[in-house]
Every structure is written in structure tokens, then in C-alpha cells.
Amino acid sequence: MGTADIVIKFVLIVIIFSISLVIAMYSTYAERKIAAFFQDRLGPNRAGPFGILQPLADGAKMFLKEEIIPTNASGFLFIVGPSIAILTACIGSAVIPWGQKLTIGSHIVDLQVTDINVGILYIFGVVSLGVYGVMIGGWASNNKYSLLGAIRAASQNISYEISMGLSIIALLMVTGTLSLREIAEQQRGFWSHGWFTWNVFKQPLGFILFIICAFAETNRTPFDLPECETELVGGYHTEYSSMKLGFYLFAEYINMFISGAVMATLYFGGYNFPFMHHLGLSENWVTILGVVALFAKIFFFIFFFMWVRWTVPRFRYDQLMDLGWKSLIPLAIANIIITGVVITFLK
């Protein structure tokens, strides 16, 4: 790897990192605006035109607030909690293929930070680490509400990771690879050999299971029991203030962005879009349009997350466990069996 490659990778990492932060920032704005539209309101519209400076104002507020660490909290872990949350949220984007290769002069720029052959496993590992941020933060607060929120987060994430993993296994049987780049490449274009290339048309049930689990993993309504304002004050971040609270909220929005990207890559063709090779454009233009297409899909998923939040009420805790263990896991296993049978017959 030459110096130029290292510089390119470094620039790519910085770009992706800042894009995820900016998207997380503006997700907070989008959430408030979209919530308002769903409720026939206007939403924030005072800071700047249409309120687009609202996230900056919020950020400034977060930084300027007094930082409170409760006397009986475990000082070190209290700070480690939000740090882990934001760290695990940010490193998930490393394996996502943001586009095809871009040719600039003599350099070929791969729009993916790293193409490891166990990309999906990596994502899974990062997602499972994410729960530690919530758990440690909730436990270190030394507050019963925080602890309850942390316990809920832990058991919820562990339960839904199982069915998420099982729904992915069926997908892997179809794709035959764990590398996200190869999965994206397999879904080239939109239509070939008499069927759609996107995995959502090959694994509809798997996709529904995956998206339900993604809601649970990102702690979004209807699975937002860990923060559940009506029962647990603020859930695991009850005792947090200032930017440490901001990190938790930020991590949630970055998680939404990453899970949107994963869903788009695994099931909705990633950076592929219909007729991408019939437009007569040069490779670089197709790549750039592909990146735009991927981001359009991600934004749709973020919008969908918010849309569901303002539609579906929160589950009760026993219903959550019922759904996870008694419905989703059997369905995921059935999905694996059906997929296996169909693949065998098609061969």
C-alpha cells in the first residue's frame, strides 16, 4: 500500500466520519420537523430559515450546559458509558460499501474503507458492543430508573440479535458470501435472469424480520423501552446531562443511519439503481449516481424509522419478549428452512 493509498483511505474515513456526524445532527432536526408534520404542526422554524440552524443551537446548548456527575455514581464508568456508545456507533460505517470504484487520474479509489470478508459479522460485533455503552452508563448512574433501562436494553438487544442473526443466515444462503461488497455487487442493476436482483425480492420475510430487529437494536419506537420516558423518567440516561447526554442521543441517530445503510446494502441493492448500465454514462458518473442512490435509500429508511415512531405505540415489556422469542425466532428458522428447500429445488 503506497502513501497515496493511505492518504486516500484517510480522506475517505474523515469524509465518512463527518458525514455520519452531520447526518446524525440533522436527523435530530428531521425528527422534530417530521414529528411536527405528522401531527399537523410546523416544527422548529425560528433558528435560521425553516429552522435549519436548530441542530447547531442544540449542540451549543449541550456544550454549555453544566456537567453533572452524581455523587454516588461510579465516576469512571459514568464517562465510559457514553464514550462506548458513540464509539461503537461510529465504527460500524467502516465496512459499508458506499459506492463502486472511482477512477481519478491514475488512482482507483475504492469507496469503502475496508472490504473484509466477514463484513456482516463485523457489523454484528459492533452492534452487540453498542449495548455495553447503554448498560455501563445505566449501571454507573446508581439510579433505579437508569438500571431498569439498562437491564431492558440488555435483554432486548440480546433477544433481538438472535432473530436478526437467523434472518441474516437465510440471506447468506442466497448470497453465499459475508462480504458486504460482494453482496452489493451481486445485486447489480435491478433485473436479470427473469427476476429482481435485489435481495428484498428474494428474502421478503427475511427483510421484514431484519427491519423489526433493526428497530429493536437501535432502541427506536415501538421498542424504545430502555428510555421509555413514561415509565422510567429518561431510562438509562436519566442521570446524564450536557454533552454526555448528547453523545447518547447522537449515538442513537448514528445507529439509525448505519442500520439504514446496512439494510439498503443487504436488501435494497446498496448503491445499485435500476438501468444503471443502460444510461450510457461513464463509469465515474454511474458511481456517483450510485452513491446518491444509496444515500436516497438510507434517507428513506431514516424517514421510515421516524414515520413508524409517530404511528406505532410502544410495546409492553412482556409483549416485546413474546414477539422476540415466540414469533420472530420461529419465523426466522422457518425462513431458513424455506430458503434452503427453494435453493435445493432451483438447483
Binding site: 401531527q39 399537523d40 410546523l42 404511528t311
Partner: protein, 165 residues
């Protein structure tokens, strides 16, 4: 027992069928409903820039009226103060001097007329009680102040602006 009002409804609780049990159709329905609201016009009124129109019989700040020659109608009879359930109105009567005929319509007038806007309940009984059609609650909403004493409105704030000849 026979229902007297004939409004009794017997509700059967049927077991959920398959589509109801998997919830997804109902969630889709819900999503459709919220999406409909997404495109509806917001009902918010951005207050300082936009103001809601008052109804025709809105009762706001009081004003003491003048007659067609620009003279104060109020004759300090005290009926408004008497009718006021909140005891918000006080007044001191004065006698009209020679040469003041263009200011006051009757021989007696209100030298001091004060309404405590914190006590006033805007019931409108004062305008009903007034035999001279001198007081009406046709103004805007009473503005906010920092001090209680500023809510006691004297004639300077209540009397209509003089006619411009």
C-alpha cells in the same frame, strides 16, 4: 333486564383472525393514516407574525366612548362599578365647569376612572349596565406588564382618541 334507553349494545369479542394477529396490516393502515396527516396543512399560527382573528363578540380591553361631537359620554353614575362582579372599576366624579361643554356631554363626569385589569374578568356586565353607552369591551387583548400597578388603567389608556376635526 330490558334496556330502558334502548342504547345498550352487546359487544362480541371475537378471536382475532390471522391477519389481525400478525399486526402488519394494521400497522400499514396506521402508517397510511399518519402519512395523510404528513401532507395536511399545519394548524399552527406563528403568533407574533400571524394573529388569529377574534370572533365578533370577543371582549377585550375596555374603551370609554365619545359622542358624535367628541365629548366623553361617561357621566360617572357608577352603575358599571356597581355591576362589576370583580369590583375592578373605581371612579371619582367631577362637576363640569363653564367652558368644558365641548369635553363632557353631561354636567357630571368621571374625573378619575380606573379599571384594574388583573381583577377584571371580562364578563361584559359593565357595558350592559351602562345607560349612556359609554363603555365597551371592544379593544385588543390586554398586554402583559412587569408590575401590578401597571395593570391599573386610568383614563389616559381607556378613553377613545379625540375626534379629528
Amino acid at each position: 333486564m330490558e334496556s330502558l334507553s334502548n342504547k345498550r349494545k352487546v359487544i362480541e369479542s371475537k378471536p382475532l383472525n390471522f391477519w389481525e394477529r400478525i399486526y402488519l396490516p394494521s400497522i400499514m393502515q396506521g402508517l397510511a393514516i399518519t402519512m395523510k396527516h404528513f401532507f395536511k396543512k399545519p394548524v399552527t399560527i406563528s403568533y407574533p407574525e400571524e394573529q388569529r382573528e377574534f370572533s365578533e363578540n370577543f371582549r377585550g380591553m375596555h374603551s370609554l366612548k365619545r359622542d358624535e361631537d367628541g365629548r366623553e359620554r361617561c357621566t360617572a353614575c357608577g352603575l358599571c362599578a356597581l355591576s362589576c362582579p370583580a369590583e375592578a372599576i373605581t371612579m371619582i366624579a367631577g362637576e363640569r365647569q363653564k367652558g368644558e361643554e365641548h369635553l363632557y356631554r353631561e354636567e357630571k363626569y368621571a374625573a378619575v376612572y380606573e379599571i384594574n385589569m388583573l381583577r377584571c374578568i371580562f364578563c361584559g356586565l359593565c357595558e350592559e349596565a351602562c345607560p349612556k353607552e359609554a363603555i365597551y369591551l371592544d379593544g385588543p387583548v390586554v398586554p402583559s406588564e412587569f408590575l401590578r400597578k401597571d395593570f391599573i388603567y386610568g383614563k389616559d389608556k381607556l378613553v377613545e382618541a379625540p375626534l379629528n376635526q
